[in-house]
Structure formats: structure tokens, C-alpha cells
Amino acid sequence: MADKVLMKGNEVIGEAAVLAGCRYYFGYPITPQSELPAYLARRLPEVEGVFLQAESEVAAINMVYGAASAGARVMTSSSSPGVSLKQEGLSYIAGAEMPCVVVNVVRGGPGLGNISPAQSDYWQATRGGGHGDYRTLVLAPNSVQEMADMTIAAFELADRFRNPVLLLVDGILGQMMEPVQLPAPTTYDINQKPWALGNPNPRKGGRNLCSTIFLDVEQLEEHNWHLYQKYQVVTDEFAKGAYKHLAVETHAVDDAEIVLVGYGIISRILKTVVEKARKRGIKAGLVRPKTLWPFPSQVLADLAAKTKQFLVVEMSCGQMVEDVKLAVDGKKPVFFFGRTGGTVPSDFEILNEVDKLVRPD
């Protein structure tokens, strides 16, 4: 095992991508994720890979589409406004079932917003984001170590389901340094995907085709139900625990009278809140969704039978809270606390909210 190294989150995503066999990166700089393309600009040539700064985010995502259809492991990254620009391409990639990894180091929105950390792209990430009936898998790490592990998992999931996988990270995680143990490199053969362009396909008249155009309504409906069934398989596999290590983390929930729910950097703050609340005699617990789509609904549904209430905390005006409410299904009250615009809530103010809910007098 290699020693731990102190690395920045953004750079770790880049290194983990290389270790996962990614040799193609197309992107355009934007704070707070620019260390990622900067790292790969230096690193990819060392492994005979291609780093290309595209003329725009739109160009970059379509280069990803092309590289993915050729069977390559490929990645792009951006931050919120840049990821908005990528949505058209992402819809095409999902429609054509091309595996790729897209990183969003989220900053404050809407519009140009600011460069401070935020979680206000949850809806965009988990609801598709672009046009049409499609889904993307969404992973949400909360440490630099998980940024390494989940980047590698993202490439594996993308190939396994032939689907784009998003890594949803906030500005703090992208910028912070923590010790990380980098995993061993994977060997990846660009020719291993029989469906990729350039490989023969006797069934379809000799050639593979990568396309999203289905002018015939019946064909498109059939295609869309095929995609839907694939998303059902993804959801089922996650629900059955095939990706247990990736799906969800719970902390001190067994006797919890209030369950806090948060992902990404917020989940770290919530862990501190749980410790402080317990010192005050409040039985608080924590559920941290690690995969945001498919959402770990069952864990919350099961807890709804045991706990008294839920408090969802996000760096947004309230987005994931809707998924928590769907999961809890009205069985227990679900409250929300959020800060937005690039503000990060402190453990003190969250603890204050917990206090108010548990001891309303």
C-alpha cells in the first residue's frame, strides 16, 4: 500500500481518473474546479493521454460524446454555469447510452452567481438536467479520499450501465486538502466494448451506430422504454444492496429521536452537530446519501418508523428535501434548514435548529 499523500480534492479526481484508465479529458476552466483540468493538462501527456481545453463547455461535452462512442474512458468537469452549458450534450450522451464521467464542483447560482461553495445543482443533477426522459447516476463524496474512490467507481458504473455518471462535489471539497490513499491503477482496453464504433456488429448490418435520432415515433417510444427499464435495473440493484458501500452512510440512527439528513460537505458538519447534540442529551442521528440517484429511499423509509422527525440541511433553498419527503411519505414530519448563495452553515446554527425542533418551548 502506498503512503498517504496530502492532496487537493480537485487534483485527486484527476489522478483517480488516470488510475481508472481514463486517457481523455475535454474541458474548459472555471473556478472552483480549475485545478482539475490544470492537473490533467500536466498528467495526461505522461500516460499518452489527451488533454484538450475546448473552445467552450458545449464543445467539451460533445468531444466526450465522441470519445465515449469510440469506447474510451473519458471525463469532463466544470462548475455550475458550465455544467448548465453541457446539458444538451449530456442528454445526447444519455440517449445514445454512452458511458462517461462528468464532474460538477458546484458553486453559488443561479446565473453567474459566485464562486463560493453551494449544493443548489441537486435538481439539475438528479432529474436529468437536459431534455428528454433520461437519468444520470449521481455520486456525492464528502472527503478527499472518497473523491478518489468515487471517481473510480463512477467509471465502473458508467461502463456497467452504459450511462453518464455525475460526481457532484461542492467548492469546499474541490479546494480542500486531506490525506488520501490512492488506489492501484486499473488497466483499461479501449477495444473491450463490443458496441463501440469501429467494432463490427454483424446483427446491425456490419457496423455499430451511435445515434439519438429516432424519427419513427414507435421506435423512439421503444427506445425510451428501453432506457426506462435500464434505470429500473440501476434502481433495483442499488435497492438490493449491490452497491452498499456507495449508496448511503448512517451514523447514530438506532435510538435517534431526530434524524439529520445531508450530503457532501454538509454531512461532515452534521456529524459534528450529532456529537454536540448528544452531549446535550439530544438523541440525534445522521443519514448521508452518498449516491443521490438512485436515492437511498429505503433507509429513510425504515427510519420513519423509528424516529420522531427529520431535519434536512442543504446549501440551497431546499432541493434534496423533496426526495426525503418522498421517501418518508408523510409518516413523520420533515423539516428543512438551508443556507444559500455560497454561505456554509455553521454547526452552531444547525444545532440551534435541532434544539428548536426537539425542545419547541
Binding site: 496530502l6 472552483p32 480542500m176 486531506e178 461532515r268 454547526d347
Partner: protein
């Protein structure tokens, strides 16, 4: 200083090497087998002149890497004291670069440690290693950093492009450490104490 966790905010002008100073402390903690985290300020203020970062060194896994109330503030310039002084935990420590910050009535419930970091750095021949003087001084107080380990590791932290500065950085680190050691730091909580001169 708690033996289990040290939460530090470091602040100064852009160009004073604040982020690197934070990295040195985080590396020192990591190489001593502790859990560490480092978060920079990367917002617009960084472009406007002041830079700060947050470092935690801990015996236990770090839940929140964010720090509202630090145990220690290391201030390299005057605006940093103004900004972070009020946030220091009661009984905590303000370690400041007394070459650029004049003594004043800060607070009476924190330890004050004056380090003439810029003057020491000048004596060594490069004003830009004042950050490493502070790192050395902090290492003397820290219970979670191993000085000898750090002296060994420091040359590896200097980027390849600045290898010629490895020696002077190490010298600055050692001088900062020695400065605190020789001053026979004895005061406890709530005692207004002062070092003066080199």
C-alpha cells in the same frame, strides 16, 4: 492547547505564503500520524490581497473541516488580526507577526505570542520565508506535530521549481522553533504576555 485536536486559522497578505504555511502544518500533522484537513479561502478576497486558510490536526477522524472558533490564529498582517481576533476560543492563542503588527490591547482571555517573523526572515536573507518562521514557532507549541520529523520532511515539500529555497526554508523553520524555545514560554491562560526583540 488541547492534546487531541488543534484548529488553526492562518491569515495574511496574498504573497506571504499563507496557504503554504497551512500546508506545512497539515503535512507535519499527517506525517506524525494524525488526521488533518486544509481548506483555503478561494473567494474574491484572495484577489483583493488577504489570504487565509483553515487547518485541523486531530487524533480522531475530522468530522467538519470548517472552523468557526479556532484554538489558534496565526496572523501575518494587521487586517488578519482585525478579522479573526474575535473568533479565537477563550484560552486560545493569537500568534502574530510582530514585525508588521504593533502590540495593542487585543483580548485579555487569550494567549498572545509575538514572533518577529519578518525580521527573522530578513536576517536569514529572504523576507519571504517569514511564513516558515511562524511554522517553526507553532511547531514548538503544538502537541500534534513532531519537530524532528518535520525537519526531515520539509525539503520534500518545496516544489521542484524552488529547490534552491529548500535550505533557507528549513533554516527559517528552525529559527522560529528556537525563538520560542529560548524565550522560555511559561505563561498560562489569561496571562498577557509578550516577547520582544530577537
Amino acid at each position: 492547547m488541547s492534546a487531541e485536536v488543534e484548529r488553526i486559522i492562518l491569515a495574511g497578505f496574498g504573497g506571504q505564503g499563507i496557504l503554504f504555511l497551512g500546508k506545512v502544518l497539515a503535512e507535519a500533522g499527517m506525517r506524525n500520524g494524525k488526521h488533518v484537513s486544509w481548506i483555503p479561502s478561494y473567494g474574491p478576497e484572495m484577489r483583493g490581497g488577504t489570504a487565509n486558510c483553515t487547518v485541523i490536526i486531530s487524533e480522531h477522524p475530522i468530522a467538519s473541516p470548517l472552523v468557526t472558533v479556532p484554538d489558534t490564529v496565526i496572523a501575518m498582517n494587521r487586517p488578519s488580526v482585525a478579522k479573526f481576533n474575535v473568533r479565537i476560543k477563550a484560552g486560545g492563542m493569537l500568534m502574530y507577526n510582530s514585525s508588521l503588527i504593533e502590540r495593542q490591547e487585543f483580548r485579555d482571555d487569550i494567549r498572545l505570542v509575538e514572533i518577529p517573523a519578518s525580521e527573522i526572515a530578513d536576517e536569514l536573507g529572504n523576507a519571504r520565508v517569514a511564513n516558515l518562521v511562524m511554522a517553526g514557532a507553532y511547531a514548538k507549541f503544538s502537541k500534534l506535530i513532531d519537530y524532528d520529523e518535520m525537519v526531515k520532511a520539509l525539503p520534500q515539500l518545496i516544489p521542484a521549481s524552488k529547490k534552491e529555497l529548500a535550505e533557507i526554508n528549513l533554516a527559517a523553520f528552525e529559527r522560529g522553533y528556537q525563538f520560542v524555545k529560548e524565550k522560555k514560554y511559561m505563561f498560562g491562560r489569561y496571562v498577557y504576555s509578550v516577547f520582544k526583540g530577537i
